[in-house]
């Protein structure tokens, strides 16, 4: 902890060392991690606005119970696209962008381990974004099977066209998966191998710890989702029968593939946010983070547990009783490392000299919201309760958080 005063830092003009002051580099195949970080952030914010418009249209329809604004098919397309855009084109890329910008700076590396891979991973984002949006233009409209795309609904192809909304959707998700795997390889290698001399594991900033933990999840989880997406694509286009019950496939298998990644995915989202909390609270409370080591390690515990909780999304889909119980227990356990973090933040703030600037206000609001959302998470984990509220607005509320 240095004693530099806040004003002294703010008054210094922040130069961009070595960077040509030229906006065109943001549209180039630049391999500079800071440029890529900004590219990610701006692109994802653009799609965030699009996803927001979809949400407003959904809300507009929901003003009255009757279908008086949208046709049922359009409504279903809207919530499918809203979910997909918000996840794959907003939360993931925006956090990856932030991590891209900060991680090399924080660990004292010159750049990411594989700069060209980094740029390639970014440029896949606008590509699959455009593919996804293009699905509005194909006959039959975009995918209407929800962002979860459970077969057989997602395998029904009413238009009979080979190029339809669902195919484009799956293609976009598969490309997004490949892009994120490339990003994950890059982050894990960078953090593990490129720390500056003297930067031992337990001297890393907590944000770097959380990015590390989140990207490990991407590494083990995403291949499952991407494989599931490819199998679904084959089912839909060349007529294999991995998931089609009419031809002897198993639709529940897809749910396993899907949730094996898509549950840990929420930790991919929340872990860097935890990292941001862990950086903001000490700064604006003028106190060191309470229990740094435990907070750092708890991220890795979350990573470990996140791999064994996915069936809690499938309590109602014909899972045997023992499986429900096992996954209920693991799901509840994951609240322990999360609780450690929350308590540590409260202890960090306690007794400090608080400065309620915008970042601090956002972080405090985020923390309180997270605590409430976390409580509903434990409620949902309890099987008897889940059987009632599964697939209802409560789980939606937990998720949206």
């Amino acid at each position: 902890m240095t004693n530099l005063s806040v004003d002294a830092i703010a008054q210094v003009e922040q130069p961009l060392p070595g960077a040509p002051n030229n906006w065109k580099r943001f549209f180039s195949f630049s391999t500079d991690h800071k440029v890529i970080g900004i590219q990610y952030l701006v692109t994802s914010f653009f799609f965030f606005l699009i996803g927001g418009i979809f949400a407003m249209i959904i809300r507009g329809e929901l003003i009255t119970p009757e279908a008086d604004l949208l046709d049922r098919a359009v409504y279903n397309a809207m919530f499918t696209m809203h979910g997909t855009v918000m996840l794959f084109l907003w939360t993931f890329p925006s956090l990856v962008g932030l991590s891209n910008y900060l991680v090399p700076l924080m660990i004292g590396a010159k750049d990411m381990a594989f700069p060209r891979l980094n740029a390639a991973a970014f440029w896949m984002v606008p590509v699959f974004g455009v593919i996804l949006m293009a699905s509005f233009l194909v006959p039959g409209g975009p995918s209407q099977s929800g962002w979860w795309a459970y077969p057989p609904v997602s395998l029904q192809n009413p238009t009979g066209n080979l190029i339809n909304g669902q195919v484009l959707w799956i293609l976009a998700v598969a490309i997004s998966g490949v892009s994120s795997i490339m990003g994950a390889v890059n982050f894990v290698t960078t953090i593990a191998r490129m720390r500056a001399p003297g930067m031992t594991w337990f001297r890393m900033p907590v944000f770097v710890w959380t990015v590390f933990a989140a990207q490990i999840i991407q590494l083990f989880g995403l291949p499952a989702l991407t494989a599931g997406a490819v199998m679904l694509l084959l089912d839909l286009t060349v007529g294999t029968s991995f998931f089609d019950p009419a031809k002897g496939g198993d639709p529940v298998l897809f749910q396993h593939f899907f949730w094996f990644y898509s549950h840990p995915a929420v930790y991919v989202i929340i872990l860097p946010i935890f990292g941001i909390f862990s950086e903001i609270f000490p700064v604006y409370a003028r106190k060191p983070l309470f229990g740094y080591k435990v907070v750092a390690i708890s991220s890795l515990i979350i990573t470990g547990l996140s791999g064994i909780v996915w069936v809690h999304h499938m309590f109602a889909s014909g899972t045997p009783g023992w499986m429900r119980m096992v996954f209920m227990a693991t799901t509840m356990l994951i609240s322990v490392p999360t609780g450690i973090k929350v308590f540590a933040w409260v202890a960090t703030i306690w007794g400090g000299k608080l400065r309620l600037n915008t970042p601090m206000l956002f972080a405090l609001g985020g923390l309180v919201m997270f605590v409430f959302a976390g409580v509903t998470g434990i409620m949902l984990a309890s099987v008897p309760f889940d059987i009632h509220v599964n697939n209802t607005y409560l789980s939606w509320g937990t998720f949206t958080m």
């Binding site: 106190k287 740094y292 109602a316 202890a347 703030i349 697939n391």
Partner: protein, 253 residues
């Protein structure tokens, strides 16, 4: 926790020109152990308690209960399990067919069909859930029961209704365009009324029941229509007893 935060925010703000650091506290091992162990114990307790409730809900074999109505869930089954339930041999077998987008119920014992699920009160109900196309979900909110229906296999599902009334059956697993219309009523009535209903229905010739999805599809009347091709709804089911309140608005007891 929120209280602690609020206190800090209200009373521990830095003074206007105070740019000094706060107290240099790096952590406290005892405190950290305490706030790891307490949530851990709590979580184990909640898991154990949930397991118990789950046990009461479904592992009790033929005497298994499903809480009905809005009664307090935990108390009802315990006190009422002593009350005589019709003897176990008279289990009602009912076949449930879900399709895009209708529910149809077959009563094999009296060879009748219906689009409304009638159940005798206080009798063991054994449903065989079938889906003819995609995933559906059998969900009666008032019963607190839910089961996904997977096409290609019959799923056995058992429960015992304990309170007469009219409830709403919904589809809980997204099933495509007219998903929201896949709902109907569940009528729980006394065994006598139920037998009576079976007998009268058996004399009725099968008629095409009203089906909202089919009806809407035939006369698409939405203000903004894109003409996107969608999966065609199945034709209305031919049943002896069409649901009495086909377009009943959302009525949750």
């Amino acid at each position: 926790m929120v209280g602690t935060l609020t206190y800090s925010v209200l009373f521990q703000q830095a003074g206007k020109y105070d740019y000094s650091d706060g107290p240099d506290i790096e952590g406290n091992v005892t405190l950290e152990v305490v706030w790891t162990v307490i949530p851990f114990v709590l979580v184990i307790w909640i898991a154990g308690y949930s397991y118990q409730i789950y046990d009461q809900m479904s592992i009790l074999g033929p005497m298994e209960h499903v809480h009905m109505g809005m009664a307090t869930a935990a108390a009802a089954p315990l006190t009422e399990s002593a009350a005589p339930i019709s003897d176990q041999k008279s289990i009602e077998h009912i076949d449930v067919y879900a399709r895009q987008w209708a529910w149809e119920f077959h009563y094999p014992q009296s060879a009748i069909t219906s689009t409304e699920l009638h159940l005798p009160n206080r009798q063991r109900i054994q449903l065989a859930l079938h889906s003819e196309d995609v995933l559906h979900g059998f969900f009666v909110p008032a019963f607190r029961v839910k089961q996904d229906i997977i096409p290609g296999q019959a799923i056995e599902f058992e429960f015992t209704p304990i309170r007469e009334g009219r409830y709403r059956l919904r589809d809980s697993q997204y099933s495509g365009t007219y998903f929201a219309t896949t709902q109907t009523d569940v009528v729980v009535e006394s065994p006598e009324d139920y037998q009576q209903w079976l007998a009268t229905s058996a004399t009725q010739p099968p008629v095409a029941a009203y089906n909202q999805a089919f009806d809407e599809y035939q006369q698409a009347h939405n203000p903004i229509s894109t003409g996107w091709k969608i999966v065609e709804p199945a034709s209305p089911p031919m049943v002896n007893y069409p649901s009495s309140s086909p377009s009943s608005p959302v009525s949750n007891p």
